[in-house]
């Protein structure tokens, strides 16, 4: 399968397919369905420094060709992750991407500090969590507010740093450029789109939080456009995601400029759909006489 091999910020991926944060736990459950070593990489559920119970009320709502989630970063905390799961993931032959969130700069900093002491391949910084101090506005919406976080984390973090961008950002291209300027090794996009659903009989939002994050095939055209914009604006590599469901989708993201793609919601359709994507890409490359996936990266 060497034609699928690729390198992202110096990290070798046996193939450019990773599972997206929050959709595959820490990999163990997925591994019951298929050998996760067949994957290029895996992103952990978003961690916060301390354990967090997540949101109350309904957490998932199906939408046309998509779903909204309001998990609210439920997670066992960085310590528990290090204690219970990290060694297991590291023992697997795939790129171990750890996704870190936070509700405040302190959250991020203490998370990074702890993760600095352990081995992992890439730290994916999720700057789309609502900033409790600033009234719930995401860190990742305004470029200059985000710069503060990225600058600090970049300084502290001894791992390769990929910043995960929110499609709700005011200007995702300037956000990506900022990440490059601040020395991030890469960016990943998109996170979920802020959406809403209303229960008309209860006359209330479906989600306690009012809004929730939209993912799945519905958003693919927009995510693909953003990946294309960003990949053509920065020189650091891009992980592309958002609605990828088929190997054709994956090829589109690569052609748009992504080096690695992530599969999220689609795994809920079929736990091992990422293997179908890997196999489909490989066959297409072979059928088209393309020797390395890198040949088609960004050609559109």
């Amino acid at each position: 399968m060497s034609r699928l091999e690729t390198t992202f910020a110096g990290v070798k991926f046996k193939n450019p397919v990773a599972l997206a944060s929050g959709t595959c736990g820490f990999g163990r459950e997925m591994n019951e369905f298929f050998d996760i070593e067949k994957l290029g990489g895996i992103c952990s559920k978003g961690l916060i420094e301390h354990p967090h119970g997540g949101n109350d009320g309904i957490r998932v709502w199906e939408t046309p060709s998509g779903m909204m989630n309001s998990v609210g970063l439920e997670n066992p905390g960085v310590d528990a992750f290090i204690e219970n799961d990290l060694a297991w993931v590291n023992s697997k032959e795939l790129v171990n991407i750890v996704n870190l969130g936070g509700h405040s700069i302190d959250d991020y900093l203490s998370g990074v500090e702890k993760l600095n002491k352990v081995n992992l391949d890439i730290l994916e910084l999720n700057i789309s969590c609502p900033n409790v101090k600033e009234g719930g506005m995401n860190f990742g919406v305004k470029t200059e507010a985000a710069r503060e976080v990225v600058k600090l984390i970049r300084k502290e973090c001894k791992h390769k740093l990929v910043v995960k961008l929110s499609p709700n950002a005011e200007d995702i291209v300037s956000l990506a450029r900022m990440c490059e300027e601040e020395g991030a090794e890469g960016v990943s996009l998109t996170n979920t789109f802020l959406g809403m659903a209303i229960d008309i009989n209860k006359r209330k939002p479906v989600f306690n939080n009012g809004y929730a994050g939209l993912s799945g095939p519905a958003i693919k055209p927009i995510s693909l456009r953003m990946v294309h914009q960003v990949a053509h604006a920065v020189n650091i590599p891009v992980m592309g995601l958002g609605g990828i469901t088929t190997w054709q989708d994956a090829i589109e993201f690569i052609m748009a400029g992504a080096t690695v793609i992530q599969v999220g919601t689609a795994s809920f359709m079929k736990p091992d759909i990422s293997l179908d994507i890997i196999n489909g890409m490989d066959k297409w490359l072979a059928d088209n006489g393309i020797e390395s996936i890198e040949e088609i990266r960004g050609i559109v």
Binding site: G54, V60, V71, F268
Partner: protein, 236 residues
């Protein structure tokens, strides 16, 4: 991909779907069902109604888009069934067992009753509550010691919980909570197991959308449940 063996319409709302499957499921477990490509997005969690060496059956109520598609499946059609999933009813119990179901919540009780009856020391009473026309009465009668059916009222009124060593329930949350209250009053809440329902995405513990608060912290209905001790969920 599995094949549909049969799909029998019971009445306007319910159907019994039988699918080829060799996997062994435990009582109270469920599968994620999907008989479509990428739309609708999510698969549907459905309990095991019955199973044998070569098949698994589901009792399904039509409520929306997904169950509607499932209801139209015909013999030989393809269906994706992921499972069995979750932690079901306790298995190695013996004594006097009551199974209390409401609406389509009666589904997981069928195979459960059959299995409990495999132990000759057990007595198994099944209580079924329906708001509309009752279904499958004959079938349930055959596999238990006593069948009590309530139509239009509260099945929870019909049970003396003190008579039982184990009480297992599945149905609308409101029904299960009434039963819990009754058990509290009759001091039998320690022996009540509830099968919780929650919206799911993955169905296998990877996404945390099905969380249920318990007094042992957050639990995943799909992986740690759907069956919990009632006191764990609703107790102080």
């Amino acid at each position: 991909m599995s094949k549909v063996i049969s799909n029998e319409r019971i009445d306007e709302d319910f159907f019994l779907l039988k699918v080829e499957d060799q996997k062994l499921s435990k009582i109270g477990q469920f599968y994620m069902l999907r008989a479509w490509d990428s739309y609708p997005t999510l698969s549907r969690p459905i309990s095991v109604y019955d199973s044998d060496d070569n098949s698994v059956s589901f009792l399904v109520k039509i409520v929306g888009e997904g169950t509607e598609i499932l209801s139209e499946l015909k013999k030989g059609d393809d269906i994706e069934i992921t499972g069995p999933l979750g932690k079901g009813f306790p298995e190695d119990i013996s004594g006097k067992i009551a199974l209390v179901g409401g609406g389509v919540g009666i589904a997981p009780l069928f195979k459960s009753a059959k299995e409990y009856k495999n132990n000759p020391n057990n007595t198994v009473d099944v209580y079924l509550g329906f708001s509309g026309t009752p279904i499958l009465e004959e079938e349930y009668k055959k596999i238990c010691d006593n069948l009590i059916v309530n139509v239009g009222g509260f099945i929870t009124d019909d049970i003396d919980t003190t008579k039982y060593d184990y009480i297992l329930t599945c149905g609308p949350e409101i029904m299960m909570q009434v039963l819990y209250k009754k058990c509290k009053e009759e001091k039998t809440d320690d022996r009540l197991y509830v099968s919780m329902e929650n919206r799911m995405a993955c169905g296998f513990g990877a996404c945390l959308v099905c969380t249920c608060k318990t007094n042992h912290g957050n639990k995943k209905v799909c992986k740690d449940g759907p069956v919990f001790l009632a006191n764990e969920v609703w107790g102080e």
